[in-house]
């Protein structure tokens, strides 16, 4: 069912429907000091907002099934495409700090009073830092497998690690030498769906086909994901998982951590014990049986029920 208010891109003659999927009712830009961040909303304009941060290499419209379920419960679900993702502007530079700042601008636009915040994957890490920086702006925080852990890092000898770092950094620099004027590889809807399926291993092909049509751009030579081609998975830097996890014990608002029981490539391999060791005194951990990293896509109704119960009825 398509929303009557939202006008989809007319450049997409091929459409794929998906049961229960509903495109956002509104899309608009929030200016984050020079970068236009594209914000979407599902639900009535005057309903209380619930803010959702998507993960890396995702985009807000991956919530097209999940978000409408929270709308049914009375919420206005607000999300945004991170810089370089979806309909937000491609930036010259990217960093976690920049993502956090962009998120703060969206937060500030959406509500001057405290609201619930949900983040998935990298968006969960952004959400945890945002809630830590602005404890007075959030009533609840839900983190969906966005709790980085070093638990799955390979245990290798020092010289082997040095060799791995050497290859990693050289590969990254080689990539940076090649990014000017780079374009994403075009393809058919099926080809893009198959490619994404390698990273989203538990998603159905039909769902991924649908995602192509809401998260892709239809150029004359084929479909391309709306993700800045200068962005690359992985990379390197001084970043440590504990820098995010150290924010967790001090969180001010009610906190719900959610993990899936099935580990997969896009996750950090975080185990329940990694979370329990950092859980705030009144925090709560739920492990969703039979779900992977994208638990809100795999089990949208169960996740909407869980989050709805945790944050309470909208007021």
């Amino acid at each position: 069912m398509e929303s009557s208010e939202y006008v989809a891109d007319d450049e997409s003659p091929e459409t794929v429907s998906h049961p229960g999927a509903q495109r956002p009712a509104r899309r608009y830009d929030v200016e984050a000091v020079g970068i236009a961040i594209s914000v979407v909303e599902w639900g009535p304009e005057d309903a209380p907002p619930l803010l959702f941060a998507h993960g890396g290499f995702d985009f807000a419209e991956t919530l097209n099934v999940f978000a409408p379920l929270l709308v049914t419960a009375g919420w206005r679900v607000v999300s945004w495409d991170h810089r370089g993702h979806g309909c937000s502007e491609w930036a010259d530079l990217y960093s976690f700090e920049a993502d956090l700042r962009d998120a703060a601008f969206v937060m500030d636009h959406v509500s001057p009073t405290p609201i619930p915040l949900v983040g998935h994957s990298k968006g969960g890490a952004v959400a945890m830092l945002l809630a830590s920086a602005f404890p007075h702006r959030f009533t609840h925080l839900v983190n969906l497998d966005g709790m980085p852990s070093g638990g799955n890092m390979p245990d290798v000898a020092e010289h082997e690690r040095t060799r791995m770092v050497s290859q990693e950094v050289a590969a990254w620099l080689d990539y940076r030498r090649s990014v000017a004027d780079r374009l994403r590889k075009p393809g058919t809807i099926d080809e893009l769906a198959t490619r994404r399926g390698r990273m989203n291993t538990r998603m159905s092909h039909e769902w991924l086909r649908y995602l192509v049509t809401v998260g892709g751009r239809h150029d004359p030579d084929g479909w391309r994901w709306r993700i800045d081609p200068t962005l690359r998975m992985g990379g390197f830097g001084p970043w440590r998982p504990e820098w995010v996890m150290q924010r967790m014990p001090g969180l001010s608002m009610p906190f719900l951590a959610v993990l899936g029981s099935e580990t997969e490539v896009m996750g950090w391999g975080t185990r329940p014990e990694d979370v329990l060791a950092h859980l705030p005194d009144d925090g709560r951990l739920e492990v969703i049986e039979g779900a992977g990293h994208f638990m809100h896509i795999e089990q949208p109704q169960a996740m909407a029920d869980l989050i709805g119960e945790f944050v309470g009825a909208p007021r």
Binding site: D92, S95, R101, R177, R240
Partner: protein, 226 residues
């Protein structure tokens, strides 16, 4: 001859969406010397007197958001991305010895470790941005710079790269990487008097030598000439 401007226009090198200004401070044959400025600084397009003894050409790079390089929108700086700026200059020059000031010293260290076969030694000197943001993050906060007039240096660079976290073991790994495959016997010479924790750890690594900038440059010059 020094003290005379020889280039009023830099060579522009493309890095992603950024045009980087590479200044030729002295042209000529031989192994290039590449100068990397500190945070908020830029290349002064005149050869400095202290490089007069260098046997090859001398260049200076303006980092992203500095000097004559592109001023990006909306920040997002990391030291790693500035290393990739310096790597773009290295790709253009083929090989180089490096002298870095402040932030440029940290970048020189990283590049010496990441491109050991192309970097013929690096001298790390005092300068703005040497410390970075310490060895681990402090409290979380979001900063939006309100100063600046739409010109370089980019206020975002000044804020973000002064908060750039530099764990000592992260810095030390570039020393190990650099020493493993360097074409010169002393790939890292530290001239900086101030030693933030990352640099103190670098200095403590076997083989890293400390000396005045001019002597360090003279040693490198001897190595690359020989």
């Amino acid at each position: 001859m020094t003290g005379i401007p020889i280039a009023d226009r830099p060579t522009l090198l493309r890095h992603g969406r950024i045009d980087l200004a590479l200044w030729t401070l002295r042209s000529g044959e031989g192994r290039p010397l590449l100068l990397l400025h500190g945070l908020g600084e830029h290349t002064v397009p005149i050869e400095p007197e202290w490089t007069a003894t260098w046997p090859g050409p001398v260049y200076g790079l303006d980092f992203t958001g500095h000097g004559a390089s592109t001023l990006p929108r909306g920040g997002g700086y990391t030291a790693e991305m500035l290393m990739a700026d310096a790597d773009a200059a290295l790709a253009h020059l083929g090989e180089a010895s490096l002298v870095g000031r402040g932030l440029g010293a940290y970048i020189a260290l990283m590049l010496a470790g990441s491109r050991p076969a192309q970097v013929y030694g690096a001298v790390l000197c005092d300068g703005p941005g040497l410390s970075g943001g310490g060895v681990q993050p402090g409290g979380t906060f979001v900063t939006v710079p309100r100063f600046g007039h739409g010109t370089t240096p980019d206020p975002f660079a000044m804020v973000e790269l002064n908060r750039d976290i530099r764990p000592p073991d992260y810095a030390a790994q570039f020393v190990r990487l650099g020493f493993e495959r360097s074409p010169v016997p002393d790939p890292l010479l530290v001239a900086a008097i101030v030693r933030p924790e990352w640099l103190a750890t670098v200095v403590a690594q076997p083989g890293v030598r400390t000396m005045h900038r001019d002597r360090a440059l003279a040693e490198l010059a001897r190595t690359v000439s020989g």
